[in-house]
Symmetry: C2
Subunit: 351 residues, 2 copies
């Protein structure tokens, strides 16, 4: 049966970079059918909501979803559930893509783009596995209220159940098995009950499913430090939704080229994965044709590898991006002057 990739270009530079990924897809996997739909601000403009039920339903029935980016200054003062980001959260939750894979690797040709000294990042290759559909992002109760004494308060519940910790831990263990076999689980077990619970559950799951994988634990603050001090010590980092958000952004920036990094969000076997650049919608450069398309193209690479079972096509993309960079192809953010399309052309030349 024909496979389908759903494009959700979204807002800002999203449409520009997903268009380039689409060009690459048509070259390396021409038989994959491509569809398009709305999410984020553009969906608000058209349908009044950041994600329609129909769009979510359709997303559930395809093989993989490639999202550009959502959000922009236009919606900054709107209520949280009416913002473009709510569409992204709704999509993650609706697809139940609980395991967010965020690699932080450094292309050899780009080592000098990093703020860090060469020896700290050369050969860097970390995989962050972030829980994506629970924790304080979705916990209940949450809200703002005024108590009996007239004091206003804002609150959110940070919560994890044992099955939620188990399934993401198993993904991290499985991924480590294909790498160096080391998982470092991150929490604040020293101050949070849910952190202590996370640590115990991860330890239990490792006992049953951790064959051949070494498990360690680190406090989230220490991890933030260690990522700066000696990032190459890590193989796989396992973190909850909130810590994973901060730590994966820091890890991505270590490589110096946030415009380069993709992510994959996976659910249970047989359900479609959601693939998206780590960068945002970058409204400041939208519409200028200068955005770096690599993160979107490498998100397609992850889609081909993790959801579409086409490792050969994925390998071709990875190699071509590396070669184009070696040959000096650079967008503005990498210190060059190639346009979005120009960068993709350079990659296509290397396919």
């Amino acid at each position: 049966m024909k496979q389908t990739l759903l494009l959700l270009p979204g807002d800002g530079i999203g449409p520009e970079v997903t268009a380039e990924a689409q060009r690459i897809c048509q070259l390396v996997a021409p038989d994959v059918a491509i569809e398009e739909n709305l999410v984020g601000g553009i969906s608000i403009n058209t349908h009044g909501v950041p994600l329609t039920d129909a769009a979510l339903d359709r997303a559930r029935s395809v093989d993989a979803i490639l999202l550009g980016a959502v959000g922009g200054p236009k919606w900054a003062d709107v209520a949280r559930d009416k913002r473009p980001e709510a569409g992204l959260l709704g999509l993650r939750k609706g697809l139940d893509v609980f395991a967010n894979l965020r690699p932080a690797y450094c292309f050899g040709a780009l080592v000098d783009a990093s703020s860090l000294k060469r020896d700290r990042v050369e050969g860097l290759d970390i995989m962050i596995v972030r829980e994506l559909t629970s924790g304080v992002y979705f916990g209940e109760p949450r809200g703002v209220e005024t108590d009996a004494n007239g004091v206003r308060r804002g609150f959110d519940m940070s919560v994890y159940t044992a099955p939620e910790v188990e399934r993401v831990t198993r993904v991290a263990l499985e991924i480590a098995r294909g790498r160096e076999g080391r998982v470092c689980s991150v929490d604040k077990a020293n101050v949070m009950e849910s952190g202590q619970f996370w640590r115990e559950e991860v330890t239990t799951v490792h006992k049953t499913h951790g064959d051949g994988v070494e498990l360690s634990h680190m406090l989230a603050d220490a991890c933030a430090m260690e990522l700066v001090r000696e990032p190459k010590q890590f193989d796989v980092i396992l973190a909850d939704n909130l810590f994973g958000d901060l730590l994966s952004d820091a890890a991505a920036m270590l490589t110096g080229s946030i415009g380069m990094l993709p992510s994959a969000s996976l659910g249970t076997e047989g359900t479609p994965g959601l693939f998206e650049p780590v960068h945002g919608s970058a409204p400041d450069i939208a519409g200028q044709g200068i955005a770096n398309p690599c993160a979107a193209i490498l998100s397609l690479e992850m889609a081909l590898r993790w959801s579409l079972a086409r490792p050969d096509a994925a390998d071709r993309i990875m190699a071509a991006v590396g070669r184009a960079l070696e040959a000096g192809a650079r967008t503005r953010d990498l210190g060059g002057d190639l346009s979005t399309t120009g960068m993709t052309d350079a990659i296509i030349d290397c396919l």
Copy 2:
């Protein structure tokens, strides 16, 4: 009336480094009375609890408190409220020191110790103001429970009231006024109700009390990124307890010498401040006489400045540490071979 400094050496390298700070105090402020008491693991060993009511009462009545560090592997498997860290949290809460000041500055002589390239950290001078007595660290309800279907869950409430946000914001604004006049407030307003609430309250407080200070807002994940990319863009960063924990550790590590950085935790006017190194108890090197005493000595410097109203004595310490480093004084962590005492001797020579 004679001022009193209470030493709480605590565990690990705590006693080694506070002893050095005490030597310096006797030289620069000989009339300050010094007392000592127990907190953390050593208090557990002696009294069965990490902080006795008597120790907290005494701490409340002195002028400033200098704490070494708490914790160690011995208590790793003990229930959270019986651990050394609970003593520290109890002290913070009991003293109501809601504003935690964590500077991240780079001594000129140590710029090359950083993982970051010289131009990113030379002249770095950030002050992080972290809320210290609320948020998910203390929120209720919290715990681990099994629901009706037999599913176990761990949970913690992340909560802020308007007065809590107000008082720490006012401290950040006041501090910015003595610096470059810029506060960047950090939250996850895009996913947390308490984050949205934090942002609104900070904005409101700034309207009334922010004269001459520029306020901006940044998402916590973006801030983690920007700290790595271009840390010198920041003047004062204002963050809640949890984000402040991660971001201040990352910021401290940018300077490359975590053994150098102090912190101050301040309550309302007229109550004693709590001063402590950013580093922990470092059980791996405890008892060897090789720990870097600078963070403890600089914590004394902050105590003299913020609680004891002796800016001259504080300036003397700051200058002496700078000169000792210029002269090449280095402990092991800085690539040298001076002992804890030897480093202090070098600083005393420069007083």
